[in-house]
Symmetry: C2
Subunit: 355 residues, 2 copies
DNA sequence: CTGTTAGCGCCTTCAT
DNA sequence: ATGAAGGCGCTAACAG
């Protein structure tokens, strides 16, 4: 009746792992044989319990546990056309806001039984496109991209695939499918107006060269110009932004002979670097120099003085992206294809001057 | 001859994406028909080019490009038993060293044509085990775990699967398969000896509660005790470690009436927080208070004063893990099943006192 | 160099 | 409530 030899100790020796010949896999059929049922009944017991008698389910579960059955999603996905896999491409992971977003994305996906296939584009559109091809060959149920500027092939492939797509961190009037983010130009303008209101007059910028940072800085410049003000110095730094680059940025500006009364940084990490450089030089912040960050990283509230910044729900971008995707995957309609998560100016010490 | 209607514009309308009914997929067969060849020849042209006439390859590539063929790895993997997928479980992503490791892992994997399936355990062994089941059902070619303490089921399942496994961030005499990390107890001891050498006498600790941090702190305590010294205060903080927690840690120690002359932190982030708290209180570092970090995060060299710490090749752990895995997947034997990446004390300003 | 046959492990469809 | 047949898309193994 039971022609399976139950594994005594249950495994191959450790130092044999991965040597090419894997133990022949335990399949639904094996469970079925052991339980004295047909494979399809076992499948149902495992995935559609209410199509099967409780008693049978019990038998199946026992048998599965005994032989250590692990379903093969490749095979499953091949028939169902559902992979329970969501792929995401981020520009970078270490030292960036994207880690938070990925964490949020992952958590929400995991909570709904989806897994995350992660890739890193290193801020290259070409790389992104190449990665996408590999990704799509795994038949993901959905994809999360960063930003709204992509290699043309990206949009085409994604549409051909017909799966839901979220473009995160930015919004666009013409998303590939769904966009979850905020308007970076509004941020630039808001920061400009806020700082002008505070009475700052001589603006400098330490700005990353990534797309979205540049968008914010340009909008800042434009708004300043509307008030008759030009940036007196602008220092660009390549991603990833680090504290060291922030220090160097302020250093370069000051050594260049410029004397800004406020420096606008494209991330809190840069702002923190600038803050430290100011401290090292004995420049009082904010009295002699204001500093503005972006992102509201967790440390920003706890530096001394605390960094004024722009709050963005980094984690929320990820969780919302996940929710949108899951909704569409499960056939629900979305109210909006474009979700603006907004932002919020956070005044802290580094810009708190005058009245 | 060619009975395929070439798609004019190549896609479904955007707002139709993901509504359940995907465009029927384009398969190898379609390419074959268009190229006037058999499916297997197309397969070979794409994956084993040198088994096929150059002329034929060209025909195949053309045909594939024309209809936008994307291979289906689920189907491919089902037959070959190779998924080109490596899975990793990390305790957490945002705000941690693990992001660096994951980035290194991903880069190295991508360079060899593997993709990364990422999961987050939130420091829970039970979660790790559950995640693993889901992961294994995708038939990964290899797995990277964090740490060496796992739910018993983890080892069992992994061995049953017979795939290579790396346990990262720690080393063990009895790894499941491969270990890539370093000995945290040696770190604790080394830090203790170094600080004793510098002449510090009244030690306090701000330490995360995660496994490896605790291991280091215990070894530090033990080493101190061998020199007749006890920690005068110890403050524990839950992961994720943040700058704020570092500040609070020092705050709590000082408000508790303790007067350490050095505070040992289980991460640079905590150390940075302590440094800021000291600065805010006007406590001179290192003269009145030494501060020791861990990890050598990129900011540590650039704070003011710069943070003394322990360098670990965070990224390298990831790249080496990837290399070991790939080697085993491809059937090569490893010289060592346990790779100690070591660590290095980095003296900077926050402990530079006396002679 | 190219093609035929068969089957990976599972689930959909159609019976019973 | 359970089962039998067939096929998802691809590639191994064996021809020729």
């Amino acid at each position: 009746m039971n022609d399976l030899s139950l594994p005594e100790s249950s495994a191959a020796p450790a130092d044999d792992a991965g040597a090419g010949e894997r133990p022949k896999s335990i399949t639904l059929k094996d469970v079925a044989r052991l339980a004295g049922l047909s494979p399809i009944t076992v499948s149902r017991a495992l995935h559609n319990p209410r199509m099967v008698k409780p008693e049978t389910i019990e038998k199946v579960k026992q048998a599965a546990a005994v032989i250590g059955y692990i379903p093969n999603l490749l095979a499953g996905g091949l028939t169902t056309k559902r992979s329970r896999l969501v792929a995401s491409i981020v520009p970078q992971l270490s030292n960036s806001m994207f880690a938070e977003t990925v964490q949020g994305l992952n958590d929400e996906l995991a909570a709904h039984g989806y897994q995350l296939l992660l890739s890193v584009s290193s801020y290259s559109r070409a790389t992104e496109e190449e990665l996408l091809t590999g990704i799509l060959s795994r038949q993901p149920d959905g994809v999360v991209l960063t930003g709204i500027n992509h290699h043309p092939g990206v949009r085409k492939k994604l549409l051909a695939m017909g799966i839901p797509v979220v473009e995160a961190w930015d919004i666009s009037p013409t998303p590939i499918d769904i966009a979850v983010g905020f308007n970076h130009e509004r941020v630039g303008e808001a920061v400009a107006r806020y700082l002008l209101d505070k009475g700052f007059k001589r603006f400098a910028s330490v700005c990353g060269t990534d797309e979205r940072a540049v968008l914010r800085r340009r909008a800042l410049e434009a708004e300043l110009r509307r008030h008759g003000i030009e940036l007196i110095a602008s220092h660009e730094v390549p991603p990833p932004t680090t504290l060291a680059l922030g220090r160097q940025g302020l250093y370069a500006i000051l050594e260049g002979g410029h004397r800004p009364d406020v420096v606008v940084c494209s991330s809190d990490v840069l702002a923190h670097g600038a803050l430290i450089e100011a401290g090292a030089r004995g420049i009082a912040v904010p009295d002699r120099l204001g500093i503005m960050g972006f992102g509201d990283f967790d440390f920003a509230a706890h530096t001394h003085p605390a960094i004024s910044t722009v709050y963005v729900d980094k984690r929320g971008v990820g969780t919302r992206a996940a929710r949108c995707l899951i909704a569409k995957i499960e056939g629900r309609r979305l109210d909006d294809q474009v979700i603006d998560v907004g932002f919020k100016l956070v005044e802290r010490d580094t810009t708190r001057i005058g009245g």
